[in-house]
């Protein structure tokens, strides 16, 4: 244990190093969010000399209008589907990167994984419209190989939204899974193998449980933003693109009803927190803090 003065110095150092970050977070995240929470309890947004009084009507509207609940279920289903495909595609990729690819190749493959981050999100989504539409890249490519295929037109469907979102969020899943997979001590796996465990048993009993923290982090990083997404659904989903996220956007941009939009956002946040709270006991077992 360090002497008292050193300990105090360390504490100051920690405070000094973290204070800018916390100050920044307070100003940029906490203040706007609390302003929105406050607005969600007002009749109208208090701009331009408009008279605002406290009300719970915006939260009540969520219960009174059944379409809000249907849209919420739709958004949750989208979140689940996108997360599922991110795991199916991302986990094996992370596994291969962490355990079987070495040196230069790993760097090159990593570059490919993070490449989507370097382009503008809007540009990515609009390029998908060219790929997915009838007579687009995917349709033409498939039909040049199998001329007998009927025209494939995925644009403006639920599937198009899932494809676009999986593409946007896959890197998060790969990176978080990779971090926990490459941290697994090679000796543990060798021990399992020398004790006669098959590859599958080793994976199921050793590798998978040890990588759960990364998988869980990936699931949260993908699921939470996807259920609030509105840009990809609007552009790729067409008629199928109406979700809770797009309806919240409408409240802000179409009718200037910030209070209703804020209330819907906070209801969505509450649902996300409830889901995480329900999943917590399951996770805790694997995260090794139980």
């Amino acid at each position: 244990m360090p002497p008292a003065s050193l300990e105090r110095r360390q504490r100051w150092a920690v405070a000094g190093l973290t204070a800018p970050a916390y100050l920044w977070l307070t100003v940029t995240v906490f203040l706007p969010l609390s302003a929105m929470l406050y607005f969600s309890f007002l009749t109208v947004a208090p701009f331009g000399g408009r008279e605002a009084t406290p009300t719970l009507a915006h939260y009540a509207a969520f219960l009174e209008r059944s379409f809000y609940a249907r849209l919420t279920l739709r958004s949750l289903r989208l979140g689940a589907d996108v997360t599922f495909w991110c795991i199916v595609l991302g986990y094996p990729a992370a596994y291969a990167l962490a355990r079987h690819v070495r040196g230069r190749w790993r760097e090159a493959l990593f570059l490919l994984v993070v490449l989507p981050f370097w382009s503008n999100a809007l540009v990515r989504v609009f390029s998908w419209t060219m790929v997915l539409r009838e007579g687009g890249l995917l349709d033409s490519a498939l039909r040049s190989v199998f001329p007998a295929l009927p025209p494939l037109d995925l644009l403006f469907t639920y599937e198009a939204i899932v494809i676009g979102l999986v593409h946007s969020f896959l890197p998060y899943m790969i990176l978080t899974c990779y971090v926990s997979l490459q941290a697994i001590d090679e000796a543990v796996i060798e021990a399992a193998r020398t004790l006669g465990a098959s590859w599958w048993t080793t994976f199921r009993r050793v590798v998978l449980p040890l990588s759960v923290p990364g998988l869980a982090a990936g699931v949260v990083l993908v699921f939470v933003p996807v259920i609030g997404s509105f840009m990809e659904p609007r552009i790729l989903g067409g008629r199928a693109g109406t979700l809770l996220g797009t309806v919240i956007e409408d409240q802000f941009t179409v009718v200037f009803n910030w209070p209703r939009g804020a209330a819907l956002s906070y209801i969505l946040l509450a649902i996300v927190l409830a889901i995480l709270a329900l999943a917590w006991p399951l996770l805790r077992r694997h995260l090794g803090r139980g």
Partner: protein, 359 residues
């Protein structure tokens, strides 16, 4: 009421707010600057017009854009003093005036004022509290346009949008007021005050097999029509003429026999405008026939509120042949101001419909 090229800029009020602040700061630097708030690609930002105005007055015109009337109002509310000239759909002019977002027009500074059509120039929608708050600029129609290479004969009924022959080929603007208005006209109701919103909702639900996708900007409309995503779609008359003239799309605009939505836009001077004198001069230039004729002929525009300007268009111009025909004009339902409560009710109807359409 009109178009834009980039539909997703400033999607959230917060970015709109920040953009407004940034705009105000950047503008504070130059003295002889005029700040204009308008839809993108809607006349005031034509490069040749900005250049000519600068040559004559020495005033540099800078632009900021919006994608909906609500976004325009939000920008005026949250960034007072950031703008000089603002384009406002006449249905919103008195809302802006009542909130103190715009200032009265000094009529004497608008030399073309006497030439403006009295029915628009003197409309109660621009004269708020007995004072003129907007100069009537252009007017047009919201209806639909179709691809002439794919659809014939020319549809003349609004029911074309519900026609099973065009199932999955219809484009629709994602806008609650417009959606309710279209259904009301098809049902023979008053689009400004629909008598039976349940019937309107049922009519909109019947669009489920029809709609291919929603569009939100002129640019998106052109892409989808050119790419074959839709063959018939709701549209604005001025934009349709731009799609034909500037983009060479084979489209034709229809004023159906049941009627269509009419609107007119005014130019206003923002409250606290740093350069109110130049603002009046710019508005005067915008309503001048010289600017308008070049705009409509080279680019495509809605009809001018200046009768002298319309008369100088080529004889075959849409704005003379179709919109100059009193019989067509008689079928228009001009947009009236709506209360916030009505607007929110329309949005609820539309969102309920959209939820069903998404299933």
């Amino acid at each position: 009421m009109q178009p834009t090229a980039s539909s997703f800029a400033f999607r959230t009020p917060l970015t709109a707010l920040l953009a407004g602040v940034a705009f105000a700061l950047s503008a504070a630097a130059g003295a002889a600057e005029l700040r204009v708030l308008n839809w993108q690609g809607y006349g005031t930002d034509e490069p040749w017009a900005v250049k000519r105005f600068a040559e004559r007055t020495g005033v540099e015109v800078v632009h900021d854009h919006f994608n909906s009337e609500q976004e325009m109002l939000t920008k005026l509310r949250t960034s007072p003093g950031a703008y000089d000239v603002v384009l406002i759909n006449s249905a919103f002019t008195c809302t802006a005036a009542d909130e103190g977002l715009i200032q009265p027009i000094e009529r004497a500074k608008i030399t073309n004022f006497a030439d403006l059509s009295p029915n628009m120039r003197d409309s109660a929608m621009l004269n708020c509290g007995g004072k003129l708050h907007g100069v009537a600029w252009v007017w047009g129609v919201t209806s639909f346009a179709y691809h002439t290479g794919k659809i014939s004969p020319r549809p003349d009924s609004i029911e074309a949008l519900w026609d099973p022959r065009f199932a999955g080929r219809v484009g629709w603007r994602d806008d609650p007021v417009e959606a309710v208005s279209f259904a009301a006209i098809a049902l023979g109701q008053d689009p400004n005050n629909p008598s039976d919103l349940d019937a309107v909702q049922a009519k909109l639900l019947a669009l489920k097999p029809q709609i291919r996708t929603f569009w939100s900007s002129e640019d998106e409309w052109n892409k989808h029509m050119a790419g074959g995503q839709f063959d018939i779609a709701t549209y604005w008359s001025g934009s349709a003429s731009r799609s034909k003239t500037a983009f060479g799309l084979p489209v034709e605009f229809v004023i159906p026999r049941e009627g269509a939505i009419g609107w007119f836009d005014g130019l206003s001077v923002a409250a606290g405008a740093p350069n109110a004198d130049a603002a009046h001069a710019f508005i005067d230039y915008m309503v001048d026939p010289e600017f308008y004729v070049k705009w409509d002929t080279d680019v495509g525009a809605p009809a001018s509120a200046n009768a002298r300007a319309n008369a100088r268009l080529p004889a075959d111009a849409f704005n003379r042949t179709v919109l100059g025909d009193p019989e067509n004009v008689a079928r228009l339902h001009f947009m009236a101001p709506l209360s916030d409560a009505t607007r929110e009710r329309f949005l609820e109807v539309w969102e309920e419909v959209k939820t069903e359409l998404a299933q």
